[in-house]
Amino acid sequence: MPHFIRGRGKMLAIATLVVLLSIVPLLGNNYYTSVLLIIGIHAIVTVGLCLLMGYTGQVSLGHAAFYGIGAYIAAILSKTYHVDPWLAMVVAIIATAAFAFAIGFPVFRLRGNYLAMATLGLGIIIWILFRELDWITGGQSGFLDIPTLSIGGFAFDSDFRFYYLVWGFCLAVMFISQNIVGSRMGRAMRAIRDSESASQSLGINATLVKVKILALSAAYAALAGSLYAYYVGFIDPPPFGFLFSIRLVVMAVVGGLASIWGAIFGAASVRLLTEFLHPFGDIDVVLFGLIIVVVMILSPQGVIRGLGDLWRRISRRLTPS
């Protein structure tokens, strides 16, 4: 049996997800559809961050940069240079992954706190570039009229259509990630997380593994970024800044750093909280700060796992032994 549907819980979760995904857009409410669509896009980035932080043990506080690079490359190629949007998307993904691969070697000479600071700084530098290189990016006034994707004559021009496109990609990314985590590569990743020196003593080139995972997660982020650009049709620097990098960390933490399917839960929780609390200003960010502190102290493996453990403890106490 394939690895990703081992266990009844997981199968149940996937079934629920599929049902939810197919029902919601049929309700015909564009607001719900667009919220769920954004959740799908964010979940794609979050999974990549989970692979890097949760499974490989390497912090990134600048992941929004990859998301932004993907969005800008796709937008600029398809609009300014009239490249076919699909091709532009492929180029964006490959170029972002290549960029991540190249910076990975110097960056991963750093560990822990220093790595965190370096990625934070890199994210800020790239964000400054989005803003300052205004002759290509449009700078602060943004980049308008990005074309949308289409297959033959079928254009993904409505929320409803784009929704299925995004979730198709999202589920594909989930399966691919789940497969990698359960493979030889996934073992090497977890080995590096638990003890880098021991993993190297067994013949694993830890730096190369980290760089590959960084490139993969950058590719995911670029995929999500280009989907975002095509969906909204307009991009400007704010959504790709330092705060979004931190927001991605929140999504990963809530879903469970070392959990693939948890990324959807994390992305959904964060997005829904923001939507519900929208009328009250930035109170969602206050909660995000609180939530990640509480989750890291009480249940570093994520909210779902934490609630599961809690439930087991309660039910054990209730059943007389």
Partner: protein, 290 residues
Amino acid sequence: MATWQLVQYLVTGITVGSIYAIVGLGFTIIYSVTGIINFAQGEFVMLGGMIAFSLIGLGFPMPVALILAVVLVTLVGIIFNLVAIRPAGRASTITLIIITIGGALFIRAVAGLYWGRDAVALPPFTGDESLSFLGAYILPQSLWVIGITAVLMVGVYLLLNRTLVGKALKAAAINRRAAALVGIDARMMSLVSFALAAATGAVAGVVIAPLSYASYDMGIMLGLKGFVAAAMGGFTGVWGVFLGGLGLGLAESLAAGYISSSYKNAIALIFLFAVLLIRSRRLMVGEEGA
């Protein structure tokens, strides 16, 4: 190239450099005692400036408002340590990074809700009539910043080297387990280091606010620059971080003056990567894992 111009840039550089040095001092104190890089350090600076602003608005006399602001931020540092750092115990580096980021996010967002998004200015401590020096203009507040930084640096140096608390902090910094064996409570030392870092951060906030506006979102860049100063100083001792801060401040001010002010932040980031890459060479043979 006019001399007065150069002098002007140097004065600006030393002034902001002093601030970076104080922020960096906070990083150094916490890191050397606990091994934690406190990503909320910049938020202590922001809180210092903003709280002082509010207290002055409430009618407190200036000196009282400033001191009270520092005291309140120190309390925030203590509370942060008690509710977020202590319960985490001996957690992994990744966990602690995320916790201090959570704290930073929380403080920043609360500040944004309470004070709004607009920048605020504190009145200067003693008038805003500039003094003339070699043709350059120096605001009295610059002298306050430089003077208070010097006093603070000497004060922290004496505290660390001449008092019992300081010796306990240093012992905990050198070897936590050995310190525990001679009866030094590591959790208490962690608390003291956070209190001290919050207090110094707040001082930086109140002295700089009259010169460059304070706003809820100033913490991140100030924190990053303070970290650069601390990293340049090697996270040990007071004088390294002092020189690191001054070096960064001067480089930034000269680059802004002679090249372009839009590259000001880029200078700090270049310094960041330079210092990280130099340190990484030493870290290569470093201890295990993240």
